[in-house]
Amino acid sequence: MTLEAVLVVAAALFGIGLYGALSQQSFVMLMMGLELMINGGILALAALWSRSAGGNPQGQMLGVVFMTVMAAEMSLGFALITSVYRVRRADITEKLRRLKG
């Protein structure tokens, strides 16, 4: 379990997340992509904290902040999805664009 190996895994998670966030039409699936990107970020952060930053507690702190950001993002994201669905009955991005234009 080398540092490089962990970072490659983190990169893979980030890449899949990016793919999902760009390709998915549905809002909720799009958010799953974002979550996965943050997931990869947390992993990379922890790997660097453990192997390269000498266990600096700020590294962990940053991990906690990532999680907080994720929670806030999800909370607001879902609220927006609900609101958009309520007002425009749109559940995929294209519908929203069409309604706007």
Binding site: T82, Y85, R86, R89
Partner: protein, 448 residues
């Protein structure tokens, strides 16, 4: 070979152990069977279960009209293998469902023993489990249709795997999400026998509800009148002892309570109530009052029922809805018109709130009051006037309180969460059997 032998040996050993287990029974109560099925709960040799998946034996008690044959066949086929069926006629006529599945027996004590014997034989392989009754047909042919042969078209269309998907519908929350159409009954364990509801659910909230006409209603009786209701039906046409009538009323209320307690997860307390009902004496008024206090402590009259299913007095005025009306504050009671009661100083008890808790309190109060009346009644007899106050309200040749109340049900249940809806429904104490026999009694009176 050795492995097969080991498997067989293990199976036999387990079978010997399991043979002594309480028999899991899914019981269907037809006409004349409600009390009998209820009393099975007191028998340690059996366990009444709520879904066919949990059962080993399907017990059909009393008479069931033809209209129930198909749901019954579905129910039968839902039991896991190995399964068996037992018909307990209780004086009912011949059954309309496939006879080969249904050995019959008569007496009360025989039931548990027969059920145990059936279980033993099933587990030891001496008796083959019953094959399905219904043919292996899909509700809609779907195999091979659609892009993956799953039977659907597009993303939401078609009948994937034999059924369509639910469709969008309006909702009070402004979110247009799916509305699930669902028909529940007639053997749903929390519903009174014979009740089937056509529901539309958005999430767990009832958007729309319509009672399906009961297979009991409008058909001639297919069994004998159940013991608890008989005296009230008799009182329509002939004088009956007030003491006996009131004792029967208290007993009916307690039997209702035993069922209602199961619905709020207090089954063990329900068994205690059931035993009290079976051995009820006119001197048991204190036991009922103690019970009332216990129910308040357990919060059965409390957080489980407070404010649930409120029915305003105006909605039920003049319906003769008995305890439902009195729980809402209407002093409607047929007994006030009966000269036999006026000498007893009878005053109807009433509550104010009209919610499920009020109905629970109302029935407990009435049970205690009935015992007092029975103690004071001596050998007074009722005067038949063509209508009787049954434990559910006014009973006459036209029908009973349930029949008259049924059209209000949608208004009462709409907008309730499913659990609250069941609590409400249970607190109403609907009964489709009473009316059938009341009509027969009237027909008999006209004929003679």
């Amino acid at each position: 070979m050795a492995r097969a032998g080991l498997q067989l040996g293990l199976k036999q050993a387990l079978g010997r152990v399991a043979a002594g287990a309480p028999v899991p029974v899914f019981a269907v109560a037809g006409q004349g069977a409600r009390e009998h099925v209820q009393d099975l709960r007191l028998d340690g040799r059996l366990r009444l279960v709520d879904s066919p998946g949990a059962a080993m034996v399907l017990l059909i008690a009393g008479g069931l009209p033809d209209g129930l044959a198909e749901p019954l066949a579905h129910l039968h086929d839902s039991l896991p293998h190995p399964r068996a069926t037992l018909w307990w006629p209780l004086g009912a006529g011949p059954a309309t469902w496939p006879q080969q599945f249904v050995p019959t027996i008569e007496t009360r004590d025989g039931v548990s023993e027969t059920l145990q014997a059936i279980q033993r034989e099933l587990l030891r392989g001496q008796r083959p489990g019953e094959p399905p009754i219904l043919p292996d047909e899909d509700p809609v042919p779907w195999k091979g249709v659609g892009p993956y042969g799953q039977g659907g078209t597009g993303m939401t269309g078609g009948t994937p795997y034999g059924r369509p998907m639910a469709e969008l519908g309006a909702d009070r929350d402004g979110l247009r999400l799916d509305v699930l159409p669902l028909r529940i009954g007639p053997f749903f364990p929390r519903f009174p026998p014979g009740l089937t509801l056509d529901l539309k659910l958005a999430g767990d909230v009832i958007v729309d509800v319509a009672p399906v006409e009961s297979p009991f209603a409008g058909a001639p009786p297919v069994g004998v009148c159940r013991a608890g209701a008989r005296i009230f039906v008799d009182a329509l046409s002939q004088p009956v002892p007030v003491a006996g009538l009131e004792l029967a009323r208290a007993r009916e209320h307690l039997r209702w309570l035993a069922d209602a307690l199961v619905a709020v997860e207090l089954g063990s307390l329900g068994s205690r109530v059931l035993r009290l009902a079976a051995e009820l004496r006119t001197s048991d008024g204190d036991s009922i009052r103690t019970l009332g206090r216990a129910l308040r402590r357990t919060q059965a009259i409390g957080w489980a029922t407070n404010g649930v299913g409120r029915i305003p007095a105006a909605a039920v005025e003049g319906l003769g809805a008995g305890p439902i009306a009195r729980a809402a504050g209407l002093p409607e009671d047929e007994r006030t018109h009966d000269p036999a009661y006026s000498g007893l100083g009878f005053e109807p008890i009433v509550q104010r709130d009209g919610d499920a808790a009020a109905r629970w309190r109302q029935r407990l109060g009435e049970a205690a009051q009935s015992l007092e009346l029975a103690a004071r009644a001596g050998d007074r007899r009722t005067v038949p006037t063509g209508s009787v106050e049954s434990p559910r309200g006014r009973l006459d040749g036209e029908g009973n309180a349930t029949a008259r109340f049924l059209h209000l049900l949608p208004g009462v249940l709409q907008g309730l969460e499913w659990g609250d809806a069941v609590t409400t429904l249970v607190s109403l104490d609907l009964d489709f059997e009473e009316a059938v026999f009341a009509e027969t009694a009237r027909a008999g009176a006209v004929a003679s």
